[in-house]
């Protein structure tokens, strides 16, 4: 934990952390969209349809 250690402003590091933040948001939204699009199809594929259930 960082405690009260006061960081000095460093644009390069801010960009680095900003990139990770942006990636996290993009992945959350992107995977969410993919889940909605392909989730039902994937479930059908994994669990099987009516025939395999019988």
């Amino acid at each position: 934990m960082a405690g009260l250690e006061v960081p000095t402003w460093d644009p390069e590091t801010a960009l680095l952390i900003g990139t990770i933040l942006l990636e996290a948001v993009v992945l959350y939204v992107g995977y969410g969209g993919l889940e909605r699009l392909f989730g039902p199809y994937l479930m059908q594929l994994l669990v099987g349809g009516e025939e395999s259930a019988r």
Partner: protein
């Protein structure tokens, strides 16, 4: 500025094998994190150390990975209405001051030559106390322990407030009072005291403090479990972000590690979290405990390997760490698909 960032990203393309390894490892860690709600990210730093990354890079990149994971998890809990920002803001302030006080106490005890002994005793008392409290509560309520997978289906005001929290809420009514999610009304001073105390322990023991903060929010403040989880993740976004920034300044954050790890773990966390709706976690908890033990042994084996200069032992350590995580993740996936198929068959036979 942009050049150095692109240099960092450039390392993504240098070794496709490592990229694939990190995405795959991220996927496994994500499944574990999504399913158990914890216990994935702690595998990252030891694995990076065993891959012979320098310690600041292993710790800094591990922390940046935790930061990214916390952002994603907080967004999810935000969508479910399980993050109390008011509580989070008060907690962050109190915790930060507490951490600094904790660190100061360590340096003071160090000057007296007592730091090592006192910290070890504090660890044993704290872990034993929290473990006993949570287990007792879990046994009393449903015969199980750990994460309540039905929690997501309950309304926040349906949660029973622990007796200790009720007593604190009744007796300490020093203004200003705040109303938190789940209709919990509590004095700001109680939150500040809890945040300071957990921050103090966190700074004193040199740990992130989630395992202290979450039970403290549940038992001392009385917030519902999902809100404690969501708000704790919100706090980790700040502490992890600040920690990553500090490590990043020293060149300790490698995007070539963090980007592929996050790419895999964000997908894995979705799978793991979806699996919680299907699988009874109790059966898999034993694997989880086993994985933690194997992880500990593996780190020890790897350390001995690097101490005696045996690359075979170091490799064995790495294989054990990754292997244990992969086995548990596969067990979760297999059980999930099997459970889904059984449910499907039952539904079909009922319909027939």
């Amino acid at each position: 500025m942009l050049d150095s960032l692109l240099d960092g990203l450039g390392s993504l393309g240098t070794s496709p094998e490592m990229l694939a390894l990190f995405v795959g490892f991220g996927l496994v860690v994500g499944v574990l994190f999504g399913f158990f709600g914890m216990g994935g990210s702690f595998l990252v730093t030891p694995a990076l150390l065993m891959l012979e990354y320098p310690a600041p890079v292993a710790v800094g990149s591990g922390m940046a990975f935790v930061f990214g994971t916390a952002v994603i998890a907080t967004l999810k809990h935000h969508d479910l209405g399980q993050v109390d920002y008011k509580l989070g803001a008060i907690m962050i302030t109190g915790t930060t001051i507490g951490i600094e006080a904790g660190r100061a106490s360590v340096y003071y005890l160090e000057s007296l030559g007592l730091a090592g002994g006192v910290i070890s005793v504090a660890y044993v008392v704290l872990l034993g106390g929290v473990g006993a409290m949570v287990t007792r509560d879990a046994l009393k309520s449903d015969g199980g322990g750990g994460i309540d997978h039905e929690a997501a289906d309950k309304d926040l005001d349906e949660y029973e407030i622990p007796d200790i929290a009720k007593t604190i809420q009744r007796t300490v009514r020093i203004p200003p009072m705040v109303t938190l999610r789940g209709d919990v009304r509590v004095s700001v001073w109680v939150i500040t005291a809890v945040a300071f105390a957990t921050g103090l322990l966190s700074g004193f023991l040199g740990v992130g403090g989630g395992f202290i903060r979450m039970p403290a929010m549940i038992y001392a403040i009385g917030v519902p479990v999902p809100v404690a989880v969501g708000t704790d993740l919100f706090e980790i976004v700040f502490s992890g972000g600040l920690g990553s920034y500090l490590y990043g300044q020293g060149g300790g954050v490698d995007l070539g590690i963090v980007v592929p790890l996050l790419f895999g773990s964000a997908l894995g966390a979705r799978i793991g979290s979806a699996a919680t709706a299907v699988v009874d976690a109790d059966g898999i908890k034993i694997y989880f405990g086993g994985m933690l033990l194997i992880g500990a042994v593996a780190v020890g084996v790897g350390e001995i390997g690097s101490y005696v200069g045996s690359s075979a032992l170091e490799l064995l350590g790495l294989v054990l760490v990754i292997g244990a995580a992969v086995v548990v993740a596969l067990a979760i996936l297999y059980t999930t698909v099997s459970s889904l198929r059984v449910t499907r068959r039952e539904q079909t036979s009922v319909a027939d």
